[in-house]
Amino acid sequence: MDTTIAVDKSYKKGVVRFVKQDKLLVYSAAVVLIIILIALMAPLIMPHDPTAVSLTEKVNPPSFQYPCGTDPLGRCVLSRIIQGTRTSLVAAAIIVAISGTGGVLLGLISGYKGGLVDSLIMRLVDVLLAFPSIILAMALVVSMGPGLGSVIIALTLVHWTGYARLVRAEVLTLKQSEFVEAARAMGNSSVRILFKYILPNVIAPVIVMASLDIAQIVLSMASLSFLGLGAQPPDAEWGAMINQGREFIRTAPHVTLFPGLALMVTILAFSLLGDSLRDYFDPRLREGYIE
């Protein structure tokens, strides 16, 4: 029988193919990339000095000169948003890097060693998780004195628990798997098994969690700054900006609206990226054929 089955040309290899199927991943990744670029190039693209006060131009509506208007001190809102992007992302990156690494290491040790070490680490996690994280962070910041540094330390102390729990659970399953048992029987040391056999297999969920975590950290930081605990004037920070515009919300909504929008877009982009990465890393959703 003569059979001609056309190959679907749009069907590409690996990543490219998946990207075609999952538009959400592409869009969210693109937005995240733009946000990162803005943060990196902040000084180059700001139309004005974000800290330049101009008493003659207080609370101006958006205009050609000030695309997002000016704030109660006459500073350019757009420039301050751009500066705020840098503040938020750099702080979030530091927090995720430290709490992620620490959490992963503690999770690895806890899951692999078990016993007393495991109990100690996990009870500490339980205690930290028993408080609402934002309240706990607030308490820590207050005890250390307000400021961006305190916020970074406080959020780092609060956020490692998620990674530790996630990694520990993964390790507990992987520890039982035959390839880890085989590696042990082969004579690999515990350290080698942890880093060569177990770590590469828990990295994917950790990346997903990190992406979702950045969204949450940006929000927490904004909340703390809104309450006056975070970035101190004249540093630009979204939460602090929203707070400053609070009084003028009826007469000059742009002062709160634009930083609010920036916050929303950033959080949404990182959350959606996390979600689509989760799908991407799930091989069951990636391969479309059966045995």
């Binding site: 390839f179 048992e181 085989a182 590696a183 029987a185 082969m186 040391s189 060569k196 297999n201």
Partner: protein, 266 residues
């Protein structure tokens, strides 16, 4: 004596509120001599895989003794055990899952050589890996693949090659073919038998399948609910089983209707 097991017990406590103790392995005694195959047969859940892990000290026994060439292994520290790991190896049931999913076959095969510094240079390592591949009937095209790109039989060959790289004196084969097709099973078992004879390796062969055990073992031990109920030479176990459980097991062999036996065999 290569392996000597005495009064081996492994208990697990189960339940949260009413803790009770389950004996997964209950006073098991056996020995394996150099180059000999002891078949360990029993149904799923009888504790035979626990015995495998106890022998290699992957889990600690509750009590009893395991001796390798006269050396007591129980109670030894992990560091001290490393010396013996090279000489006692295991082949697992699920071939694809016993290989690191993100390591290429070439890396998986090179790992034991690097761990024990069995090769002096990269070039020598390459030669040795090729040699191992050849011994288990695989070719160079398989080197760059990942475990999930191999068939079950091919993955099991890789697992065997990896064990062979260490030139062990004793191997535990824990149901090495129960997840494979019957036709592939014959391939893997004849490979194991061939390599065992070439390298004079003592083996504990664990299986639920009496016919398979019969084909590869010199002596057979029958396990039921954690206990060895009968041990004897192959002929003894298959021709004149004494324990009722052994008799029951022999009755589970699927016999083809006699009318269907091939002319030339009948």
């Amino acid at each position: 004596m290569l392996i000597e097991v005495k009064d081996l017990v492994k208990e697990y406590s189960v339940g949260i509120f009413n803790k009770s103790v389950v004996k997964a392995v209950d006073e098991v005694n056996f020995c394996v001599q150099q180059g000999e195959t002891l078949g360990l047969v029993g149904e799923s859940g009888c504790g035979k895989s626990t015995v495998a892990r106890l022998l290699l000290m992957l889990i600690q026994p509750t009590s009893g003794s395991v001796r390798f060439e006269g050396q007591e292994l129980t109670g030894m520290s992990q560091a001290a055990l490393l010396k013996f790991r090279r000489e006692m190896q295991i082949v697992f049931q699920q071939p694809q899952q016993s290989l690191h999913p993100r390591m290429k076959i070439a890396e998986s095969l090179a790992e034991p050589l690097q761990l024990y510094k069995l090769v002096k240079s990269k070039a020598e390592e390459k030669v040795r890996v090729r040699q191992l591949l050849d011994e288990v009937g695989l070719s160079e095209e398989h080197l760059e693949r990942y475990p999930h790109e191999l068939s079950g039989g091919q993955a099991q060959r890789v697992a065997i090659a990896r064990v062979l790289a260490l030139k062990p004196k004793f191997i535990v084969a824990d149901e090495p073919t129960s997840m494979l097709d019957v036709s592939v099973q014959a391939q893997i078992l004849s490979l194991i038998k061939k390599l065992q004879q070439e390298h004079t390796i003592g083996m504990l062969f664990i299986s639920h399948d009496l016919e398979v055990v019969q084909a590869v073992s010199d002596r057979v031990a029958v396990m039921y609910q954690g206990k060895l109920v009968e041990t004897g030479s192959k002929q003894q176990i298959f021709m004149e089983p004494r324990h009722s459980y052994t008799k029951y097991l022999t009755s589970t062999i699927l016999e083809m209707p006699t009318s269907l036996i091939r002319d030339d065999l009948a």
